[in-house]
Symmetry: C2
Subunit: 170 residues, 2 copies
DNA sequence: TGGTGATAGTTTAGCTCTAAAGTAGAAAGT
DNA sequence: ACTTTCTACTTTAGAGCTAAACTATCACCA
């Protein structure tokens, strides 16, 4: 269980061998986070393709579903919650609207604002995929004990909070 | 320092509120890894843009540089080490070659194979950016104590090894 | 009331990626 | 030897994202 040396350790050792003095300390955390992130993303993409949705649309629908009744949010808020650019959300909304999963309409009161709401079809779709997706992803963490998962969550929470604070604004 | 509740905790609570029984256990790890990964990637993209290189080219050059003399690898091996598709590497190579950072030539012995080597200009470029980039990224982890970083690295190493083993093949 | 600047969304340009098709050389089986 | 299969790489089609330009509306205030 102790996990022997891996490719990432090799990268650190390679830099030290090639350029003694290279500041390699961050690699053990940052590179591993990227790799894990990529493996999880690829897995999620495959899972969602299998379930017949695309990953970005799922994220969108899940965000609206999670917001609770009336399952409606403005695009800017969705962008913020999904951590992607407003332009990306606008494009995602157009695609999802075309598939009949969401509907856009002008907000009352402010002529600039828009409200996006889940259609019954979009609600159904997320309802039928969320449990399957999350159950599957739980098995992906089965190499860690419950205690280790909590430890990991806690460390990541600290790091994420700091990075968020440090970020230009995004 | 204990890190209070964050957005990700809110996501878990929202699912539980909206759909009691939703299997939310994986969210604390997976969602945080994605968010951190994204923040780090965005930061790296900005840093590299500031230094006048693009992030993918930097990864390419770093991979060749780290391989040690003669700073040459076949495209397939680069793709494997950078964990992207062979097609992506082929395109990156074309761009980098156009900028004079690498050179492709046929391998001797096997007419299908290609060897990519760092040009002096590519070698210089990576040499002048790697320390700056890595030093900067070290500061991004300054919210964690050295001990916490080690803990985090170790947990991630276990998870990464398991996910690699579990992966279809890729 | 009319200008200045902020805010909400959308659109566009440019880039990069993946997946899949295409090209060409090497290996292997009969 | 010749066909099949495999392997290495490239190219193409299609998609998504970011950054930045653009449109429209609102808010403030002289």
């Amino acid at each position: 269980m102790a996990a022997p040396q891996d490719d990432v350790d090799d990268i650190q050792k390679a830099w030290i061998r090639e350029r003694p003095g290279t500041p390699v300390d961050s690699i053990g955390v940052i590179t591993r986070i990227w790799r894990i992130s990529k493996l999880l993303e690829d897995d999620r993409r495959r899972t969602m393709t299998r379930l017949g949705v695309d990953a970005a649309a799922r994220h969108l629908l899940a965000t609206l579903r999670r917001a609770g009744p009336p399952y409606a949010l403005p695009p800017g808020e969705i962008a913020r919650r999904c951590a992607v650019s407003p332009g990306a959300i606008s494009q995602q909304l157009s695609r999802a609207e075309e598939q009949g999963l969401v509907r856009r309409h002008k907000a009352e009161g402010d002529g600039r604002s828009v409200v996006v709401e889940l259609t019954p079809s979009g609600h159904d779709l997320i309802e039928h995929t969320v449990d399957e997706l999350l159950s599957h992803e739980e098995t992906l963490l089965s190499s860690l004990t419950p205690n280790q998962r909590t430890q990991l969550s806690d460390l990541l929470r600290v790091l994420l909070a700091d990075l968020n604070a440090r970020t230009p604004q995004s």
